[in-house]
């Protein structure tokens, strides 16, 4: 008449009552943590996709032939380095314009020849672009170049990017570890709830055993219950977490604040996030089963 799997009243004790909500809470936090890691990862990828450009400044040299030689030496040296995508002299007129732009706001002024005209001796700048992700030994490069051309200096425009990169790596690492930690917490919680369930239903278990119920019969009840509750809890936590991600990430983007760039999340990130509740529920089920079997084997 009734479902024969109702022997153990798991609903009425901690195991049944709390598994759903604790799983929901933990999966919520876990998905949030992995979302932060995914955002950091996406930004890291973006940062690494940008070719990194370092600028070399050679001091002005009034003698055209020597100047040309210096530039050629540096270009030849740099192009031979591994990881360099290209290296080129910024043309002087363009550099003049750049200086004008930096100091003069008014287009009209600039049209009349700017503050400096093009007659001033300017330093010669060489842009070196490295391949994405290439390992660059900037101090060594600095030394090489000042040996080639005394007074030549290496700009440090790469510095800020590298700091952001390190920050993204840090965030990805911390958030990712936190997410894994939370999965471990789910395992601990399920072990703990299953033990509490075994404890709370000790007398009923003894009774069912007396009637000839084997470990498999009993453990199956914990397992099925864990699957049902943990799956529902995990989906609930996932839905909440994804809502929060959307609210926190996209709403400020719409408001024009864009503190985080989630539109950069790749499909693989979304797939990984969607796997969290499934993994959590399966983990809970497996752990409930193993804990129940282990606990039952110890009870007499």
């Amino acid at each position: 008449m009734r479902n024969p799997d109702l022997d153990l009243p798991l609903e009425t004790t901690a195991f049944g009552r709390f598994l759903l909500w604790l799983t929901a809470g933990l999966v919520f936090l876990c998905v949030l943590a992995f979302a932060v890691a995914a955002i950091a990862d996406a930004q890291l990828t973006a940062l690494r996709q940008e070719p990194r450009i370092v600028t070399v400044a050679l001091p002005p040299n009034p003698e055209p032939a020597a100047a040309r030689r210096e530039v050629d030496d540096v270009l030849a040296h740099v192009r031979a380095l591994p990881g360099v995508a290209y290296a080129s002299l910024i043309d002087e007129a363009a550099f003049g314009e750049l200086v004008d732009e930096l100091l003069v706001d008014d287009a009209a002024d600039r049209a009349t020849g700017g503050l400096f005209g093009a007659r001033m001796p300017l330093p010669r700048l060489i842009d070196i672009a490295f391949n994405p992700g290439a390992a660059i030994d900037l101090p060594a490069l600095d030394e090489d170049i000042s040996t080639l051309v005394p007074g030549a200096t290496l700009g440090d425009s790469g510095q800020i990017e590298r700091s952001r990169e390190r920050l993204a790596v840090l965030f990805r690492g911390v958030a990712g570890s936190f997410g894994l930690l939370l999965l471990a917490v789910i395992v601990v919680v399920v072990v703990w709830l299953t033990r509490a369930g075994l404890e709370a239903h000790r007398q009923t278990i003894d009774l069912l055993r007396q009637m000839g119920a084997g470990d498999r019969y009993l453990a199956r009840q914990f397992e099925q219950h864990a699957l049902a509750k943990a799956l529902r809890g995990a989906l609930l936590g996932f839905a909440l977490a994804i809502s929060v991600v959307i609210v926190v990430v996209y709403v400020p983007t719409l408001l024009g604040e864009a503190p985080l760039a989630a539109h950069e999340l790749a499909p693989v990130h979304w797939v990984l996030l969607a796997m969290v509740p499934v993994v959590a529920a399966l983990l809970a089920t497996l752990v409930a089963r193993l804990t129940a079997h282990h606990g039952l084997a110890r009870l007499r």
Binding site: R2, P4, D7, L207, Q210, G212, A213
Partner: protein, 237 residues
């Protein structure tokens, strides 16, 4: 007595102790044949329930050997133990009904654990409870039954799967005289069909009325089987 005189249970020099306290039972020797019928008597706290715990394989002996259905229980693995237990029916002195299940589901438990199909289960359970006068209380939870009714449910659960060994601990303690007689007839019927029956009781009345062997327990030691106490006739079943 019908049925082959196969040995169902054998205790050899068995002690039982709980924790570190002195043994509750000392050096018990006992053999139960298929189709035998024994009363187990003794004052309160003598160890009747403890002895039934040993026989029902729910508590291991502290010393000595217990053999059931020809197997020594120390040498049986967990799965086999479960199978052996399915052949033993127990009427607990404190009933141990599952509060969250109806009378029907409580009685159905041993059949379901034994893997009987639902249709057969439904028929057996309804018949049994109907015969005990609980036909209109199938869906009542234990808390909605009177104490005597709960005891009947407990008895129904112990006998529904037709065990080969039936252990009943004070089965009529909360039951009126008329019902008690019906129950005794049921137990006698089962014993005639080959089940070994042991009934623990402190009721001098039962011992007097039914002409079966009595195992007496006092200060943790077993005396008997003694021959029937009185010479009274009875047991019309």
């Amino acid at each position: 007595m019908t049925g082959a005189a196969a040995t169902i249970l054998q205790l050899d020099g068995v002690d039982l102790r709980y924790g570190d306290t002195p043994p509750v039972l000392h050096g018990l020797d006992l053999t139960l044949q298929a189709g035998s019928f024994h009363f187990l008597s003794g004052p309160s706290g003598a160890g009747k329930t403890s002895l039934l715990r040993l026989i029902s394989l729910s508590h291991p002996p502290s010393r000595g050997t217990v053999r059931v259905f020809g197997r020594e229980i120390d040498k049986i693995n967990r799965e086999e133990l479960a199978t052996l237990r399915q052949r033993i029916g127990v009427v607990f002195q404190d009933f141990r009904l599952l509060d969250h299940l109806s009378a029907f589901d409580n009685v159905a438990l041993p059949l379901r654990i034994g893997g009987a199909d639902e249709e057969q289960t439904a028929r057996f359970v309804a018949d049994m409870l109907g015969w005990l006068g609980l036909g209109d209380r199938l869906e009542a939870r234990p808390a909605e039954l009177s104490m005597g009714q709960r005891q009947l449910v407990c008895i129904a659960r112990a006998v529904v799967a037709k065990p080969r060994l039936l252990l009943a601990d004070e089965p009529t303690s909360n039951i009126d005289a008329k019902n008690a007689e019906r129950l005794m007839n049921l137990f006698i019927q089962m014993h005639r069909l080959g089940t070994a029956v042991v009934i623990a009781t402190h009721s001098a009345e039962l011992l007097r009325r039914y002409p079966y062997a009595v195992l007496h327990i006092a200060q943790g030691r077993l005396t008997g089987p003694r021959p029937p106490a009185g010479a009274a006739s009875s047991g019309t079943g």
